[in-house]
């Protein structure tokens, strides 16, 4: 029982990341009909927003400490951060400590801008091109983006910690009446789950309750008709692309403390997020979220020793196996609409 609760927690956490990425991907699929292979790269850039802000905050000037030696035996160069100099050591250190949450503020404008530039500068010209061309151009873009990041940050993962207060873990089991140490869960992962839930909620509320959202939803259902009504759907779609980029970026920012960001993390998630979107059903936002959490939880269950001893290697293939079963039993995924991306 405790093991199952633990894996459900894990699954919700993994599912949060899948759902957030898939949500943005579906927004782009659904509104623009574009297969965006660069979406994983947007997630990665989000994570590097956190890294970058951390780098900016720890920028400093160098003083030479004659009492210490560096590895070559020369006097040690000591880096003093401006932030700590300006705000005093305590507040300065706190600001640096909170760089990941602060990066949210930093990432939103950056990601929206990247989204706008991508849509206006590139994707716009591919609305009426075959999906194959969209795949090629966005894949090319994804490579370019990740190579740029690699050029500046290297290939090695870059540790980016959560604020001190969120390190460590919560003994969840005790709350439920289990023994201590049975169900423990890291604070930051709980934060990530709540954050994801908030973002998902915000996107849905936005689409549900604003006129902008209504037009976009109508556009997702039937683009031509909405266009005929004289509504400038294109501009709204540009904004939608910005939002999708921001969602992917925020997913990345908050993911940075969970696993150290590296330049190819987008590609690691790309295939998986496509599977999630398709399992959820093309063009369905709730489907994408549902599939994200479902696959996250199933993946966690599949990695339990009990399951693995029964079916060796099941955790390697569970996502794909489930995808196949769902697509064969439900032709358009969990909640897909007819006729979307079936040609």
């Amino acid at each position: 029982m405790d093991a199952i609760i633990l894996q459900i927690l894990n699954g919700l956490d993994k599912g949060s990341a899948y759902a957030l990425i898939a949500l943005g991907l579906t927004l782009i699929f659904g509104t623009l009909g574009v297969v965006n292979f660069a979406h994983g790269a947007l997630f990665m850039i989000g994570a590097f927003c956190a890294v970058t802000l951390n780098k900016i905050l720890t920028l400093g000037y160098i003083t030479i400490d004659e009492t210490q030696k560096d590895f070559l035996g020369n006097p040690l160069k000591v880096e003093n951060t401006y932030v700590e100099t300006w705000f005093g050591p305590e507040l300065g250190a706190a600001i640096i400590d909170w760089s990941v949450p602060l990066a949210i503020l930093f990432a939103i404008p950056v990601m929206v801008a990247i989204g706008f530039i991508m849509e206006r500068g590139l994707i716009k010209h591919f609305y009426n091109r075959p999906h194959a061309d969209q795949i090629l151009v966005t894949f090319g873009l994804a490579i370019v983006l990740q190579e740029i990041i690699k050029y500046f940050y290297g290939a090695n993962p870059i540790p980016t910690g959560a604020p001190e207060v969120f390190r460590g873990s919560l003994d969840f089991g005790v709350l439920l009446g289990f023994d201590p140490n049975v169900i423990i869960y890291p604070y930051w992962r709980l934060v990530y789950f709540l954050f994801a839930a908030a973002i998902i909620g915000a996107v849905f509320a936005f689409l549900q309750f604003t006129t902008f959202g209504m037009v976009v939803r109508a556009g997702m259902a039937d683009r031509e008709t909405v266009g005929l009504l004289g509504i400038n759907i294109d501009r709204r779609f540009t904004i939608m692309f910005g939002i999708a980029a921001a969602v992917a970026g925020l997913a990345g920012v908050m993911y940075a403390p969970i696993n150290s960001p590296n330049y190819h993390m987008g590609m690691d998630f790309l295939v998986l997020s496509f599977v999630v979107v398709v399992v959820g059903g093309m063009g369905s936002l709730p489907g994408a979220v549902l599939a994200g959490f479902l696959l996250g939880i199933l993946e966690s269950f599949a990695s339990m020793n009990e399951v693995k001893s029964l079916l060796p290697g099941i955790d390697q293939i569970i996502i794909y196996l489930v995808a196949i079963i769902i697509l064969l039993t439900r032709p358009r995924g969990l909640m897909g609409r007819k006729g979307v991306m079936e040609e």
Binding site: D133, I135, G140, E147, L321, L327, L328
Partner: protein, 397 residues
């Protein structure tokens, strides 16, 4: 000729000439010159050009004709390679049984995966094929290690049974005694050209593959496949069952992939699991689109393009750059190296990504369209060839 019309026959002749004279064409720069870095006429890369050409030509039969975008075709290439290496391990180093088994096994594998995946269309089909291929890769890398030798890749060991191996049989891959690696080097002044037995065998296979592909494109079957892409509804209401057509196309292209895999193993008897990974499947998709999906020659061009960058650009390093720009004043030399540095060596991915984007933005029909535009431009320069110019703007097939 050979049941082809004039245009197709010309195309086949051109491809034949290009492949037969590839050792010359790909080594245009004298050895030791600064430009020799760009020579691609060494056996391994030439073999890769034609093997991936076969792979892409086969993929194009499915994707170019029916529009079904498989994202798991590398699995068939991998299965073909594994089958071939097992033949080496069990029988002998002769490539004939290996290639035959590779084609058969990958065909069967494609039949099973295609039968299931083709129950869906569009992106649902793509994800089904992707899922099957990723499962194959993940299992081959881990649980199936006894069959695939996992991370290291399946290879031939001295203690393998090799039942058909005589005492004098060659210990390297061979075609009835002709060693695949044997190379005859021709020196002409500063130039050097390699003629490799393995390459020519692969090239002959590729010519056969291209020929078969042309026949399929021009056959009633090919017409039906194009009809599937154009309008499935009309197909059904014209008394045609689309499923066996698409399945046949899937299996044929899977067998092409198996042939490519078998040839790869024949050139180099090691089959790594990575060749089944989604990136490998994605690569053949990119090759086909880059060259021009649905065209006869496009996929080969795309395959050559990507393999060239992978093998040539990745090997240019800073010291090579310094050599190139050595004639410049020091500051300028360093500046040029600094500018070009991000695009070569470890930056070859960046160059490739940029080129993907440029090609697809400016040449919607892929490299073939580029070729056509150049041809049209050349013709417009030649007076009295106006009528042909209009002809070339038709979609090439």
């Amino acid at each position: 000729m050979l049941g082809l019309d004039k245009r197709d026959a010309t195309l086949l002749i051109i491809v034949t000439l290009l492949t037969m004279f590839a050792p010359f064409i790909l080594n245009p720069f004298p050895e030791g010159s600064a430009m020799a870095q760009f020579n691609a006429g060494y056996p391994d890369l030439m073999q890769r050009f034609v093997i991936f050409g076969i792979f892409a030509v086969g993929f194009n039969i499915l994707f170019g004709l029916t529009g079904y975008l498989s994202f798991g075709h590398a699995a068939f290439l991998g299965v073909g390679s594994y089958s071939a290496v097992w033949m080496f391990k069990l029988l002998s180093m002769n490539v004939v049984p290996a290639i035959i088994l590779a084609v058969i096994v990958s065909g069967l594998f494609a039949l099973v995966i295609g039968y299931v995946s083709l129950r869906r269309s569009g992106i649902y089909f793509s994800i089904l094929t992707l899922a099957f291929a990723q499962m194959s890769f993940a299992l081959a890398y881990s649980v199936l290690t006894p069959i695939t030798n996992g991370e290291t890749g399946l290879q031939v060991y001295n203690d393998d049974p090799q039942y058909l191996m005589g005492p004098d049989s060659p210990t390297v891959t061979n075609l009835f005694g002709l060693e695949m690696r044997s190379t005859y080097t021709l020196d002409m002044g500063p130039w050097s050209f390699d003629f490799n037995a393995g390459y020519y065998m692969c090239a002959l296979f590729m010519l056969a593959a291209v020929y078969l592909s042309i026949r399929i494109f021009r056959s009633p079957f090919g017409l039906m496949l194009k009809a599937v892409k154009s309008n499935q509804q009309r197909m059904n209401f014209t008394g045609l069952n689309t499923r066996p057509y698409t399945l046949a196309a899937f299996v044929i292209s899977g067998m092409y992939a198996g042939l490519a895999g078998g040839l790869m193993a024949s050139m180099d008897p090691l089959a790594g699991a990575e060749r089944m990974q989604w990136t490998a499947s994605g690569e053949v998709v990119l090759m086909t689109i880059l060259g021009g999906a649905g065209t006869l020659i496009g996929p080969i061009l795309g395959a050559g393009f990507i393999k060239y960058f992978e093998n040539i650009f990745s090997k240019i390093n800073d010291s090579v750059l310094h050599q190139w720009f050595a004639f410049m004043p020091d500051g300028l030399e360093d500046f040029m190296v600094f500018i070009i540095h991000p695009f070569i060596g470890k930056g070859w991915h960046l160059t490739l990504g940029i080129l993907f984007m440029l090609v697809v933005i400016f040449l919607p029909g892929g490299l073939v369209e580029g070729g056509q535009r150049i041809a049209a431009w050349l013709r417009s320069k030649t007076p009295g060839a106006k009528d042909e110019t209009t002809k070339s703007t038709e979609p090439a097939e």
